[in-house]
Amino acid sequence: MNKSEYKNVFVFAEQREGKIQGVAIELLGKARNLADDLQEEVYAILLGGKDIESKAQTLISYGADKVIVASCEELENYTTESYTQAITQISHEFKPSIILFGATTIGRDLGPRLSARLTTGLTADCTKLEISEEKELLMTRPAFGGNLMATIICSEHRPQMSTVRPGVMKALEKDENRKGEIIKTSINFNKEKFRVRIKETVKEKSSMIDISEAKVLVSGGRGIGNEAGLKMLKELSTILDAEVAASRAMVDAGLVEHKRQVGQTGQTVRPDLYFAFGISGAIQHVAGMEESDFIIAVNKDRYAPIMQIADLGIVGDCKSIIPALIERLSNKIKD
Amino acid sequence: MDFNISKQEELFLQMIREFTENEIKPIAAEIDEQERFPVETVEKMGKLGIMGIPIPVEYGGQGSTNQIYSMAVEEISRVCGTTGVVVSAHTSLCADPIMNFGTEEQKQKYLPKLASGEWVGAFGLTEPNAGTDAALQQTTAEDAGDKWILNGSKIFITNAEYAHVYVIIAMTDKSQGTKGISAFIVEKGTPGFTIGKKEKKLGIRGSSTCELIFENCQIPKENLLGKIGKGFSLAMKTLDGGRIGIAAQALGLAQGAMDETIKYTKERKQFGKAISKFQNTQFQLADMETKVQASRLFVRNAAFKKDQKLPYSVDAAMAKLYASETAMEVTTKAIQFHGGYGYTREYPVERMFRDAKITEIYEGTSEVQRMVIAGNLLK
């Protein structure tokens, strides 16, 4: 493989029902930094139905130099095979040095399939992407339940591919005046390989809460204990216009739904403010929230691990502090 | 005796721990509080084979060892004393005598259903006037040609309301004393057999402990278990085995209280440090743990000898005596470590303490165990 033939940083611009996903916008921001370091360009790969081209400018506004658009019926909705074939063809034609995917259910289905087809490496759930002095992509990711960080390289194969969870990278400010090029391409499918038939796609209301979007999270753990504790959290979160989140203990106890779980097996969040009430700070939990801008922890145990990462730690009983906080805040709001 | 846990035993412990943590522990406080027999747990245990561990494979059992059976009772009792005794009475006091003394027909008829947990077993020896002095049986079984007719009553019978098969001890010939005692199998629903008063108990409150009443209860001739006149010896041998189960139950209760105490003393802070940092705590915990481990060795030793078909009557008596007294001591201290909280139902040590007391009483009181041990010394 002649590595020098492979250039530019590509982002898979995931869309659902024609709507560009937030993670793709975030990845464009990161791709911009990487491309600038490499003195190369940012390409977005936009696959979709026949109207999808209209979204190309959005991708340019968020940092893409070029948008490769393939629009056809086969690409309107995601299927593993049609998307794998499309990106394989694009990769052969454009020879990207790097391709970034969102670590969504789609990205995590597509990425590995594609890596096997292209015989290249894929690094999942990267939390940090940088360019080395040798112009290689350094992909840093947590392993071992978030205990260990590993920096991965893919030196002899191209493209270098990685997935990144939503909320991990920061999007650029939108610049409507940014100019870029739209490259239309058509895909030659081998339809014999389309073997998975979609029967039904269902959206569920309860699935719509997305704690990773919240600016303020009021999160509870084992120390919150029961229904009564949860009620306090909910009350406080209403006052602060926040969302309730939880550690695994609360979810395992059946008090809170899994969608609100923060941590390795739940969501990664980076709100402006994260309240950790009665959360000891097990590593799995911390892995999902340590990037929060400001962390306030309330815990009975002065030496709980959460106290080490909190910006503000209060040693005390949640059962007395939360009600007092609610009382003071509701007075204040009345003022 | 091999002190190492085999890979098979290790896998079994993993399974039983997963099961007890997920299925038994979460309802232990509730069944105690509501005095509710854990029917659903029995069904689940039946499916996994826990209700028939030492029953041979040809009778639908697991063909496993008494070692593994004792580990099961220990692990179950570690989180719930009630469920521990349900399994122990079922296996040791009902399935075991049928296995050891039953005819081929009796084994074929009862063991598969006992092994699968479809039927629960019970054992009736104790009477209002025949407790420790079990020879004073007043229940009678009269030979009526093609059947036996039972009259009398049994008290404090574990699993009473939920059992389907009962091994009942009765006098067939009063003139013969203990040699006039025989054993019978009575099925639930037999005319003339009813369940009497349910006891309100200090501990093991989820187990169903009742009186059994026989009023001209007719049972088929073939339901005689073992030989006529050999019922007393059958009962004593059965109790020898049962004591391994109860010793394992006591051991489990003690271990459960240890686990809770270790956790609590590490969390609870007084005078600025965890109470586990105080040497008084450490020394007491060391003594408690040593006794628990000693109990475990006693239990394993008795189970090992039973598996090897060696005499184990004295070993079982020692195991039960030591483990039950340890359970009482350890659960008492566990409450002390928990202070006021330990006295409340917020913490499980209060229940463990109440459950532990019975292990010094049933299937032979501590005094009976001492009689057995001393009797062997001085024979």
Binding site: T80, A143, I152, S155, L312 | S64
Partner: protein
């Protein structure tokens, strides 16, 4: 029907603790378990065995100690167990791992290949789809439930971020399963008694159908450049004060951050 389930032995990461002083992992005494998502996969296979009399083969790759998870799988009810163990497999990234597993599966007869969605020690969720690609069979990931028509068609409910999708696919195919898809059965006492009488087949690299260059460290496009424990973040301020004062401190912070 013939089913192959891939499982992995992983350290129980919920039991892993960090040394508070050095920040390093304390791995001693951490028990090894069947990866939770893989256990969901095993359960799915065993349910199909119960209903359709499927033959279930379980494969794992790892050192000889990984035999323990295969014994556990036997005790849960699988029919056959294969341990891929060879120095040549060592140092594999996900692609090389998937090549080894696919190489083994290729030598077997199968209608359905099941993997867990992801392993708790690596969290990559890559090996399943990569195996499917090597075997040139379709994949359905994030499986929540599956129905089989008894002939050759699977109807699968797969999880998405905002709901679910129902898809249909014919065998042979590969699915990746979530631990939440079902409640894995317990081992049975009988299963445990028999687990040690059954044979765990140990397969080396010669026994599988794959080019050796695709295995182990050599066959891995990605390499770990460095591994490190996260530096301990500089601690903020911790207050041990009464409730009233604590509230004051929190409120002033909230104001400072323009939350209130």
């Amino acid at each position: 029907m013939k089913i192959v389930v891939c499982i992995k032995q992983v350290p129980d990461t919920t039991e892993v603790k960090l040394d508070p002083v050095t920040g390093t992992l304390i791995r001693d005494g951490v028990p090894s378990i069947i990866n939770p998502d893989d256990k969901g996969g095993l359960e799915l296979a065993l349910e199909l065995k119960d209903k359709f009399n499927a033959e279930v083969t379980v494969i794992t790759m790892g050192p000889m100690q990984a035999e323990a998870v295969l014994r556990e799988a036997f005790a849960m009810g699988v029919d056959k167990a294969i341990l891929l163990s060879d120095r040549k497999f060592a140092g594999a990234d996900t692609l090389a791992t998937s090549n080894a597993l696919a190489g083994a599966i290729r030598t077997l007869d199968y209608d359905l290949v099941i993997t867990g969605r992801q392993a708790i020690d690596g969290d990559t969720a890559q090996v399943g789809p990569q195996i499917a690609e090597h075997l040139d069979i379709p994949q359905v990931s994030y499986l929540q439930s599956l129905e089989y028509d008894g002939k050759n068609t699977f109807t699968i409910k797969k999880q998405t971020e905002d709901g679910y999708q129902i898809v249909e696919v014919d065998g042979p195919c590969l699915v990746t399963v979530l631990s939440t898809a079902n409640k894995a059965r317990y081992m049975t006492v009988k299963g445990i008694m028999e687990a040690f009488d059954k044979e765990v087949e140990i397969w080396s690299a010669d026994k599988i159908d794959v080019d050796e260059a695709k295995l182990g460290l050599k066959g891995s496009p990605t390499k770990v450049k460095k591994a490190f424990t996260k530096g301990v973040k500089s601690a903020g301020q911790v207050y041990e004060v009464d409730t009233e004062e604590a509230i004051g401190i929190i409120l002033s912070k909230l104001k400072e951050k323009f939350i209130i």
